[in-house]
């Protein structure tokens, strides 16, 4: 079972030397080695949604589709879960006309169906009864990062910038700051955000939707 997983990418660097039995055996415990070479079968967003409608993936599954891979989401420890409540209160204090705050709900991106901790999407609370939001509906994605900081700064940056989500925040519990990523570059290899600005307690983060600053939120209102 995948318990304490070492970061595969660092191990992959060393796997270039195929004769290293120790590395191979370490990885073999985690998942079939050949998955590293021929690759996992990836799923499209449509296939993912068919897996859900066929009941192969159910409500009990805690998953995201990220760049074609079906990835288990981490469970929530109290600092992470508690900060969700804190950020929710900070975002919901404003009634932003034309936008709605969604908490840990999916949206359809080109090769992913992520469930960001928060997404501010066009419309109101009844807009997505028949379909999920798509990337162009999303003005801001927010992740609260504790143990997931590395992957929120790499995998999620790629996923959100690939689809040109205008702004992406990481509420970084490790370093007690809010990281604001803007200027998505979907066509760079890999996709990324051109600008990152970090905000510390004492400062305020601008909430920008469609290029318009609709609010300034004190960093201390977003952190535990």
């Amino acid at each position: 079972m995948i318990g304490d997983v070492k970061k595969p990418s660092a191990i992959l660097q060393r796997m270039a030397d195929f004769d290293n039995e120790a590395i191979m055996s370490a990885l073999a415990i985690q998942f079939p080695l050949r998955a590293m070479t021929a690759g996992f079968r990836k799923f499209t967003v449509d296939e993912y949604e068919r897996l859900i409608s066929a009941g192969i993936i159910t409500e009990d599954d805690n998953l995201e589709l990220l760049e074609g891979y079906l990835v288990n989401k981490m469970g929530h420890n109290p600092p992470h879960a508690g900060t969700i409540a804190v950020v929710q209160a900070a975002l919901l204090q404003f009634q932003i006309v034309g936008w709605n705050v969604r908490v840990q709900l999916p949206f359809r991106a080109s090769t992913s169906e992520p469930e960001p901790d928060f997404a501010i999407v066009r419309g109101d609370h009844r807009s997505y009864l028949r379909r999920h939001p798509v990337s162009s509906d999303v003005g801001l994605a927010v992740e609260v990062a504790d143990s997931t900081l590395d992957s929120d700064r790499s995998d999620k940056v790629r996923v959100y910038s690939r689809d040109a989500i205008g702004t992406y925040w990481i509420v970084n519990l490790v370093d007690s700051q809010v990281e604001v990523y803007t200027d998505p570059q979907p066509d760079s290899a890999p996709p990324t955000y051109a600008t990152r600005r970090d905000f510390q307690p004492g400062q305020s983060v601008p909430l920008v939707l469609d290029g318009l600053t609709v609010a300034m939120i004190p960093v201390v209102d977003l952190l535990p």
């Binding site: 004769d19 021929a38 990220l66 790499s154 995998d155």
Partner: protein, 197 residues
């Protein structure tokens, strides 16, 4: 060993792991058409893994086994080539599988462990995987005997006595030797030269 096998970039770093599927879910995915019939994939320990493309040495090794081994099999056994075997958490497609019955036995279901006598992999660039991952999968399932037709070192490795996710015995046979084919306690000897180039 082919050191130039490239690593598919594992871009995602899942802390909680990739989603694993059961064999039942895998079958449902095929039935509902999420997976296309004939997709080149296997279910290995819950993961859906793409099969590797085959080079001529490998394909030729597979077809040699498929054409020469059947005449040696005792009554009641037959050979299936690169077709599914349904295990508890995997559905691999070994290069050859010696299973009970005949070509009408598996119209409604794939062979399972209790139907399987020998799993055979032809190994060229896949030798490390066949010795480690496939071995673990077949031993864990309890397939009694596992052969690796090792094209790199020109020998046939016979693994037997599955226990604790591995095989307790391994014997290697080179050209010139006679290889024991053991099914239900009955042994037939086959010249290795028949099966290796």
């Amino acid at each position: 060993m082919n050191a130039t096998v490239s690593l598919a970039p594992m871009a995602i770093q899942p802390l909680a792991g990739f989603r694993k599927f059961t064999v039942e879910q895998y079958h449902k995915m095929i039935r509902t058409g999420v997976l296309f019939e004939g997709e080149e994939i296997e279910l290995l320990e819950g993961y859906l893994v793409n099969k590797m493309p085959q080079n001529p040495a490998h394909s030729s090794g597979v077809s040699r086994i498929a054409s020469r081994l059947p005449r040696r099999l005792p009554e009641g056994w037959f050979l299936r080539s690169q077709l599914p075997v349904s295990l508890t958490e995997s559905e691999p497609e070994p290069d050859a599988a010696i299973v009970r019955g005949n070509d009408t036995s598996y119209d409604l279901r794939h062979p399972s462990v209790s139907d399987s006598g020998i799993a055979i992999e032809v190994s060229d660039s896949t030798l490390p995987f066949d010795r480690r991952d496939k071995l673990r999968i077949y031993a864990t399932a309890g397939i009694p005997v596992y052969w690796i037709v090792n094209l790199v070192e020109n020998q046939i490795e016979v693994y037997a006595d599955p226990q604790s996710a591995t095989y307790q015995t391994r014997n290697d046979f080179a050209v010139g030797a006679a290889l024991p084919l053991v099914l239900d306690g009955v042994t037939v000897f086959i010249p290795v030269s028949e099966l290796l180039p």
